[in-house]
């Protein structure tokens, strides 16, 4: 019946991401409640329920803060500097042109003075978005490759991926913080007093401990799965935007060949980047712990278009 769409409709992608955000917040609310309960039980037997609202409150505050200031934090951590007007005209023209093709206002442009080629986008919505590219990316890629990378990043902006990633990053951080807290108090023996509940008390404590160990891992896996899946989609919509998949494929090949790690990136910000900036890529458990899909697979999909 209807012809296959010759473009991924940005409005559909935004709607899908709205549902994804709601689902993620729901899942994380569950995880945080369970974790809050566990930490409360470890602190004091029977104190689990009291801890749940505290845990949810803490994550609510941090999620709100990150929603409004997370992008600035990430940019500062990456030592990105905003492009002055008249500087790097070609880069600015590419960003402005592709933004028009996507129907979004052009984001602010930042440069990271590092020779490792990479880029990322962040912000809460297209009106408050920033895109950062490294000096190495500008110097090492030609125009079509640069267009490919920028189109990929702009798709993250247009699809509202940046908001999802910002929220997920912070929620994972909160889970890790809470669990760390519980485990520490366990090891320092504060929770061991008055643990006279017999078998029932012991079982609850074991369950609480297992929860405290497992939830951060689950949270991390969710984040990485979301991140990997978004990369494929951004590759596809970026290639559709430029109508030239070989440009992006060739950029990926150059970046894969470049063995230099990006010093300003860390474990928390790695999944935001265009390609894994840490260059560690431990291929264990079928890539379950990777921030990005394998570059060879991304290139293969682009070449199949």
């Amino acid at each position: 019946m209807a012809a296959p769409p010759s473009r991924l409709n940005i409005y559909d992608a935004v709607a899908a991401n709205r549902w994804r955000t709601i689902a993620l917040v729901t899942v994380f609310t569950g995880l945080l409640s369970a974790l809050g309960f566990a930490v409360g039980e470890i602190f004091a037997p029977g104190g689990g329920l009291a801890m749940v609202p505290a845990a949810l409150g803490l994550s609510g505050v941090s999620a709100t803060a990150s929603y409004f200031a997370g992008d600035k934090l990430v940019l500062r951590q990456s030592q990105a500097r905003e492009l002055a007007p008249g500087e790097e005209t070609q880069l600015r023209n590419i960003v402005e042109t592709l933004s028009i093709g996507l129907g979004i206002p052009p984001p602010r442009i930042y440069v990271i003075d590092d020779t490792a080629p990479n880029a990322f986008a962040t912000g809460r919505d297209p009106k408050h978005a920033s895109i950062a590219v490294t000096r190495g990316l500008i110097d090492k890629l030609d125009r079509t490759e640069l267009e490919g990378v920028i189109a990929h990043e702009l798709s993250h902006v247009g699809n509202h991926d940046i908001r999802v990633m910002l929220l997920v990053t912070v929620l994972v951080g909160t889970v890790a913080l809470l669990s760390d807290w519980g485990m520490r108090s366990m090891f320092w023996g504060r929770g061991r007093r008055d643990r006279g509940g017999g078998n029932a008390g012991a079982i609850i404590l074991i369950v609480a401990l297992v929860l405290a160990i497992l939830t951060p891992i689950i949270a991390q896996l969710i984040r990485l799965a979301v991140s990997r899946q978004r990369e494929y989609l951004a590759d596809a919509s970026g290639a559709l935007l430029t109508r030239y998949p070989p440009g992006l494929a060739s950029a990926l090949r150059k970046i894969a060949a470049d063995r230099e790690a990006l010093e300003v990136a860390n474990k928390a910000t790695a999944s935001l980047y265009f390609a894994n900036p840490l260059k560690d890529a431990p291929r264990v458990m079928d890539g379950l712990f990777d921030t990005h899909p394998p570059i060879a697979e991304r290139i293969r999909r682009l070449e199949a278009m």
């Binding site: 023209n93 042109t97 028009i100 125009r143």
Partner: protein, 187 residues
């Protein structure tokens, strides 16, 4: 009891119709916003032309025909924007694009002209603007396609007919060299 059921059915139908109507309005609004994007870029191209013509004139004064063709195409395009249909306007802008291409081809023959900074800046600006026109047009046509599909398919076509939503026209610039321009100047 029966009255309640009838009322409920009527209520559901109203909600359904309102939903479809609002969707059509949203789609049409997107088409108009996208049109504004094209408009801005086309106007920017007009604004760049007088400077470009003056600069080239300084080095190649005897290429009068070329300058006149560009100037005429520009005023034709501006007139078409005032009065013409999107189709006529696309035609006029097409002609302007071709005239500009010709002007740049003429300018190629003057190495001194190629060397001055003002011409380089104008050239990069024009290239970027034409690129933006191409992308704005693509975005516009995509939105037109979504809107036209909606008003021609069931069930939205019924609502479209009732409230007078009409098919929007695509903005076609057929000249294939337009997309090729950036590659020429950057290689």
């Amino acid at each position: 009891m029966e009255i309640l059921i009838v009322l409920a059915v009527i209520g559901l139908i109203v909600v359904f119709v309102v939903g479809l109507y609002n969707r059509l309005v949203t789609l049409r609004q997107r088409v108009r916003e996208a049109w504004a994007d094209i408009d801005v870029q086309l106007k920017r191209r007009w604004d760049l032309i007088p400077n470009l013509v003056e600069t080239v004139k300084g080095y190649a004064a005897h290429e009068r025909q070329t300058f006149e063709a560009v100037t005429k195409a520009r005023s034709d395009a501006m007139a078409a924007a005032q009065t013409g249909s999107p189709e006529q306007r696309a035609q006029a802008e097409n002609a302007l694009g071709a005239a500009l291409l010709n002007l740049r081809a003429v300018a190629e023959a003057y190495p001194q002209l190629q060397a001055i900074q003002e011409f380089k800046d104008l050239s990069e600006n024009l290239t970027a603007t034409e690129d933006k026109i191409a992308f704005a047009r693509r975005f516009y046509n995509g939105n037109v396609r979504d809107y036209n599909t909606a008003i021609q398919t069931v069930p939205t076509n019924i609502i479209a007919g009732m409230f007078g939503f009409t098919v929007e026209q695509y903005f076609e610039l057929t000249d294939p060299t337009q997309r090729e321009v950036p590659k020429v100047s950057f290689s």
